[in-house]
Amino acid sequence: MMMLATTRRVLDQLRHDHRSVALILVVPALLLTAVYFLYENETLLPGVPRTFDRVGLMMLAIFPFVVMFLVTSITMLRERTSGTLERLLTTPIHKADLLFGYGLAFSIMAALQSLVATAVAYWIFGLDIQGSPGLVVMIAVINAVLGVALGLLCSAFARTEFQAVQFMPVVVVPQILLCGLFVARDRMNEVLEAVSNVLPLTFSVDALQQVATNTEPTDELWMDAGVIVAIVLAVLVLASLTLRRRTA
């Protein structure tokens, strides 16, 4: 009840902000277009998939993660600095209502975002993978929730929006570098591979590769998805510890 009220409130806030909605929905599709034309003139050996099919697919998982991380950490930081969070915590709301309310609101946005991006990838650029586009959207939404959870947590460590944005290079960029997008993970040195093994985005990219190469969902896909969901829950628990009803 209070969770749904929170979801409605967060979406209502977004609805008044047309520019942000447009950025969330359109930018990933535009960037995907850029990626497509980046590899437009590559010469392909017969039987080798296009780079777009590999990179474009991974981008579908990375966009919602990055965007939702940013949107959430700024929104939550505003909630902390404007006094609305402290006020909310003097009402009967449970921390879980607040966190899951946020999570649900941004998951809905993420689902819309990835529907647009996935549709563009499939219909305009003919993304060619084995698995179902529904699974791609599913992984994208799970990733968005991961971004939400990390954003909620990181907002506790920033005092200003300026600082909150600085968390992106710290939290997001390493995951993008090590997730297997640039260099396949089995060709990294041991240290980097070990780090990449514990970063959540790695599991998303692995899951998408499963979707790309198998027509039916594999056990490995479900395991990857399960690991990300577990990480999301753990991060949300940590984030709830940063919501203090009583402060010095």
Partner: protein, 262 residues
């Protein structure tokens, strides 16, 4: 837990709504509250007055249970401050309006109302109470400063709390609105709500049934406005307060906290 939220204050309550004993709060390294003992009667308006920096906001935060106490204790409606039950029964309006600027007035009030299982009707009533019906569908961020603080007030009124803690609710309001609000506070008190209202404008003290005078984290006196003008030897409450402060400074041996109570 919902039955408590649903129970509106019925009839004048009696007894003590808030009490503090040996309350000390140190924020950072600064002692903000230095040993407060007092009791606030239920069902009336208590004014918390003092110069800025005297600890008014910290005391209100302590009563709301959002402030870590260094020592001492605060009891609210028979429970320790910050008890989960109190979240259903105590409303808090902070000094700077804590509402969502990117929502309409109505959406703000309905959201905070939803935390107390209140619906559209109660929200409309709360908006009417602060005289913002014409602006109900406007974006809160587009309103003036005074209107903004009334939105914040409506977000607390919608829950129909038994204790309402208001931090400088009349700052930035024009005289007409200020009189309106005090009238509303009075009628709430008459129907049993306990109000604690802070202000640094002494003339507002006359609207209160009882006053807590705070200075540098200590309770200078707890008295009625009539007693204040009598002891301060002035009908002008500001002059009376200044007189009291000077007296307290000249006779440090006496303890002003033990001032007479009605």
């Amino acid at each position: 837990m919902s039955h408590l939220a649903a129970a509106a204050p019925a009839g004048p309550e009696s007894g003590v709504a808030v009490s503090a004993s040996a309350l000390h709060v140190i924020r950072g390294k600064v002692p903000v509250l230095r040993g407060l003992d007092f009791a606030i009667e239920a069902g009336r308006i208590t004014g918390l007055l003092g110069p800025s920096g005297s600890g008014k906001t910290t005391l209100m935060r302590a009563i709301m249970g959002v402030q870590v106490l260094t020592s001492g204790s605060v009891q609210v409606l028979g429970l320790p401050a910050g008890h989960p039950e109190l979240r259903h029964r105590v409303g808090y309006v902070t000094q700077s309006p804590s509402v969502y600027p990117d929502l309409t007035v109505e959406a703000n009030v309905r959201y905070f109302g939803a935390m107390h299982r209140k619906g559209r009707a109660e929200a409309a009533e709360a908006i009417a109470a602060v005289g913002l019906e014409p602006q109900a569908r406007q974006k809160t961020g587009d309103l003036s400063g005074g209107q903004l603080s009334r939105v914040s007030l409506a977000c607390a009124l919608v829950a129909r709390p038994s204790l309402l803690v208001l931090d400088e609710p009349t700052v930035g309001l024009d005289p007409v609105l200020r009189a309106d609000l005090w009238g509303r506070f009075r009628s709430m008190a008459e129907s049993g709500t306990t109000l604690l209202v802070s202000s640094h404008v002494m003339e507002e003290a006359s609207h209160c049934g009882s006053l807590l005078l705070l200075r540098e984290g200590k309770l200078l006196a707890q008295l009625t406005p009539a007693e204040l003008s009598q002891r301060g030897q002035s009908a002008d409450l500001e002059q009376a307060f200044l007189h009291l402060i000077r007296n307290a400074a000249e006779t440090p041996g006496t303890s002003p906290e033990r001032a007479v109570r009605s």
